[in-house]
């Protein structure tokens, strides 16, 4: 049986700057996998490479049996990959509802509609006609997740959902994850907060300076090993 998503020996970067050095990872359908690591470890680059937004210089990305390297981002959406980008990136000149509708531009058949998204994030309900530029950070993040869901993806990539948001908002957003998983979506998320990542994920991969430093199921990983893998320093005696 072929893996749902398998990344093998991936090398990628921006122009002359290489950010990933032979990263490998596999994601099983229906599971939640978290990527952790310090700033600049290459977490976002890895998600962008899977979504098709960075140049891949080596290795392979296979999704449901197809090789994705060289496939443009808009075709990957049709294949069932949606990315919630870092910094939310809602379209400021569109209303909230239009942002959701644009998410369904090349939608696959599936359950997600504007009303289903509003059910998941009730706070969006009264904001549908408002300009997306006028939302708070938490509202924009909920909108960005909803917008990605509108494409009815099979694999949802979440990049730093909690970035710059108040803990109470982050808690609300994470409480929506079971509702997303219930529709059969596989999640691959980037999270700086180790505790939160360990609590939601079935599998965790830790990146350090563009390389995989640790991976496994949360209950198999020792706290000290994670600390070493995260910071790259041995734990002092």
């Amino acid at each position: 049986m072929s893996d749902f998503l398998s990344v093998d020996g991936l090398e990628a970067g921006y122009g002359d700057f290489q950010a990933l050095f032979g990263v490998s990872l596999t994601v099983t359908e229906g599971e939640t996998e978290a990527i952790i690591g310090a700033n600049g470890a290459g977490k976002s680059t890895l998600l962008r490479a899977i979504a098709g937004q960075v140049t891949v210089t080596g290795g392979s990305i296979r999704f449901d049996g197809d090789d994705l390297v060289g496939v443009p981002p808009h075709i990957r959406v049709v294949k069932g990959i949606a990315l919630v980008p870092e910094g939310r990136r809602v379209f400021p000149s569109l209303t909230v509802e239009e942002n959701l509708l644009i998410g369904a531009y090349r939608s696959r058949p599936g359950a997600w509609t504007v009303s289903k998204v509003v059910e998941l994030f009730p706070l969006l309900g009264r904001l549908l006609r408002r300009s997306a530029a006028k939302l708070s950070g938490g509202e924009q993040q909920a909108l960005a997740i909803g917008r990605a869901l509108m494409a009815n993806p099979r694999l949802l990539l979440l990049d730093e959902v909690s970035l710059g948001l108040a803990p109470v908002i982050v808690k609300q957003l994470y409480e929506a994850l079971p509702g997303i998983l219930a529709t059969g979506i596989t999640l691959l998320l980037v999270e700086q907060d180790i505790t939160r990542a360990l609590s939601v994920a079935d599998r965790v991969t830790c990146l350090l300076e563009g390389r995989v430093s640790l991976c496994g199921r949360p209950d198999e990983l020792a706290q000290d090993d994670i600390t070493v893998a995260y910071f790259g320093l041995p734990v002092s005696e």
């Binding site: 808009h74 990136r89 379209f91 400021p92 569109l94 644009i102 531009y105 090349r106 494409a151």
Partner: protein, 289 residues
């Protein structure tokens, strides 16, 4: 009364400028693309209409429909084949490439049609007018031009604000990278926008060529008026383009009424005044970076 007449004629002239500037406004609004060959494309369309009429022995109206369709197709191909490679954070490549294309068009036209002034014969509508009072009459053809401009710009506004493709235009204009994540093929979308831009400039070229005489070198002058209309109205604003065209047209006719030959200068002065006191234009919201 002569002043009222000057204002009315200016509004009608503004219709032509607005129609001409539609494509500039759209290309800038969606693609942030400055097309310096825009004026030459209008003149090209005017010549093509002449040739189509004489070759196929059809009326200028039939030729116009064919030429607009051909121009739109050329716009799509030009975007996919050439312009898409010039798009980026730096606007200079697009400006240089379209400047070069403009020079090529002018010289090709000169080679094929010579420098003799031409005019499209579009029937008796050009000379007929409605007499409102003894001293004020409105020409049918300028009136038709204005109506066409309003219909085209209004249609475009509805298209952009209400349709799925229009929504994709706005999203791509906001943030092309993120638009790709929505499944939008930005290269195709840009080409669709350029097809509309070329189609409308083709239409404007036919109206221009039926209104006055034209020569292979007429393009850059028209381009200047088009840019002035777009900037006065506000970059990227569709209704602003209509208002900008009308403001420019009125400035020119009223200037000419004040002193014969003062028309172009009056237009430029109004343009500079708007630029000085309202650099984003009347309806402009400013250019996002």
């Amino acid at each position: 009364m002569v002043w009222v007449s000057a204002v009315v004629q200016g509004i009608l002239l503004g219709g032509l400028y607005a129609l001409f500037a539609t494509g500039l406004s759209l290309a800038f609004g969606v693609l942030r693309f400055v097309n310096l060959a825009h004026g030459d494309l209008a003149i090209l369309a005017a010549y093509l209409t002449l040739s189509t009429s004489s070759t196929l022995e059809v009326s200028a109206w039939v030729s116009m429909v064919l030429v607009v369709a051909v121009m739109a197709a050329v716009g799509y191909i030009a975007q996919r084949g050439i312009f898409n490679f010039t798009i980026g954070p730096d606007p200079l490549p697009a400006i240089l490439v379209t400047f070069g294309i403009g020079v090529v068009i002018q010289n090709a036209l000169l080679n094929h049609y010579t420098a003799t002034d031409k005019r499209i014969k579009i029937g008796s509508i050009v000379t007929k007018s409605i007499k409102v009072t003894d001293r004020l009459s409105v020409g049918w053809f300028p009136l038709l031009t204005l109506v066409v401009a309003v219909v085209i710009l209004g249609g475009l506004q509805l298209f952009i604000s209400r349709t799925r493709t229009g929504r994709a235009f706005r999203a791509t204009s906001d943030d092309p990278k993120t638009a790709q994540l929505m499944g939008i093929n930005d290269r195709h979308l840009y080409a669709v926008a350029m097809a509309i831009a070329f189609g409308t400039v083709g239409l404007a070229g036919v109206f221009l060529g039926a209104r006055t005489t034209f020569a292979p070198s007429s393009g850059p002058n028209e381009l200047l008026f088009g840019f002035e209309a777009v900037v006065i109205g506000g970059l990227g604003s569709i209704w602003g383009t209509l208002v900008g065209g009308v403001v420019l047209g009125v400035a020119q006719t009223v200037g000419n009424q004040w002193s014969i030959g003062f028309d172009l200068l009056a237009g430029h002065l109004v343009f500079l005044t708007v630029l000085a006191f309202r650099p984003n234009g009347i309806f402009g919201t400013g250019v996002r970076t």
